[in-house]
Amino acid sequence: MTPPSVVPAPREAPIALFEYLLRLGDDRLVLGHRLSEWCGHGPILEEDIATSNIALDLLGQATMFLRFAGEVEGKGRDEDALAYFREVVDFRNCHMVELPRGDFAFTTARQFFFDVHAVVLLDALSRSTNASLAAIAAKSLKEAKYHVRHSGEWMLKLGDGTEESHRRVQKAVDDLWRFTPELFAVDDVDAALVGEGTVPDMATLEPQWSSLVRDVIARATLTLPHDVVRAPRMRGGRTGAHTEHLGHMLAEMQIVARSHPGATW
């Protein structure tokens, strides 16, 4: 009898690619849903429309990544099956995107951190050796570029705005900063895919993200918390350990599809 191995077997590439695509897709699905919660509640009409537009882009991107994930998995699951019929522990999004939408300053700061990450990552993924992944990334990058223009300009307006807008967006930055390391966390999923050039090495992207973020933060007259605040490292989303907020969000997002499985309209 063979004793059970204590060293986990290395992930095979197709499974790693499936996991990686879920991470990309779920980040966008969950953040898109959070943004869509602003529909009808935006602070001004233009921002109500803008957040809904961006939510739609993110859902479109999630559709492409999750559809591809389903094809890679090869078990007949399409993007709807993956979005509506997985449990909370099967979601692979980072913690930052699942937090409740908060006030407009919180939504803006989160979007800014995410959008800068998106342009940096999608730009690198658009040169992936996997042609399908490169195509989806190149398509999404075009949208991410005007998303970051929107969230970046609002960081300047709020940070360098009134006393109240400055205070609120500074608090949002302070609250969110410890969630940002998870955007660059790597594990065996990345390791299995970096070698063949399917995905970039996140460690090489973080300085670029950091430099772009720090530039806007400074121009917005804001400050970043001391890096020690990042030390506790809120993470676990990539392996299915989520905050208490995601389950509530999914209950609302999935209820119609689960109450009427297979329904079309």
Partner: protein, 170 residues
């Protein structure tokens, strides 16, 4: 008797010239650059490859149905619509004549899309302001990059005081 292909590729393209975009009904799906390829099978079946303008564009499913309906109405029984994402759609594919139609419809045509080699993060739009489709003035400003559909931004003309939409350059 073996059924012969009655429709050539040019026939199909001509039919597609009559399929209009549901949200910008002055432009056909070909003028918008959504139709990327048409192939005719040995059995006369037609395969149309399309690409979405924006990844979340809710009109793409309607467009696919409109393409199938138009070709079937013309007598083509077997129609397939496939989706491609590469090369990614760009507003630069909209030809000059179609831009004039947009302007006549009250939508400022898109400027040139930014070079993919430009800065990843640009906080300001790096291009000239839109030309007002009503009075042709360049004294315009973008009120919001997000308008009634994903492909349009909301502008305002300082010269004639008219708000208008601009087809986004991406």
């Amino acid at each position: 008797m073996v059924a012969r292909a009655l429709f050539t590729r040019d026939d199909v393209l001509a039919i597609l010239d009559g399929v209009m975009d549901p949200e910008v009904p002055v432009l056909s799906v070909r003028e918008l650059g959504i139709v990327r390829d048409v192939t005719i099978g040995d059995d006369g079946s037609v395969r149309v490859t399309v690409t979405p303008t924006y990844s979340g564009c809710p009109a793409i499913r309607v467009i696919e149905q409109d393409i199938v309906s138009a070709l079937q109405a013309a007598g083509i029984a077997e129609v397939q619509v496939a989706t491609t994402y590469s090369p990614a759609w760009t507003s630069d594919w909209i030809p000059v004549e179609a831009r004039a139609k947009l302007k006549a419809y009250g939508i400022a045509p898109p400027g040139r899309a930014a070079s993919p080699d430009g800065d990843l993060v640009q906080l300001m739009r790096a291009r000239p302001s839109a030309q007002c489709p009503y009075c042709d003035s360049r004294e315009t400003e973008v009120r919001s990059e997000f308008g009634s559909t994903a492909c349009k931004s909301v502008c305002w003309c300082r010269a004639c005081g008219q708000p208008f939409e601009e087809f986004k350059a991406i």
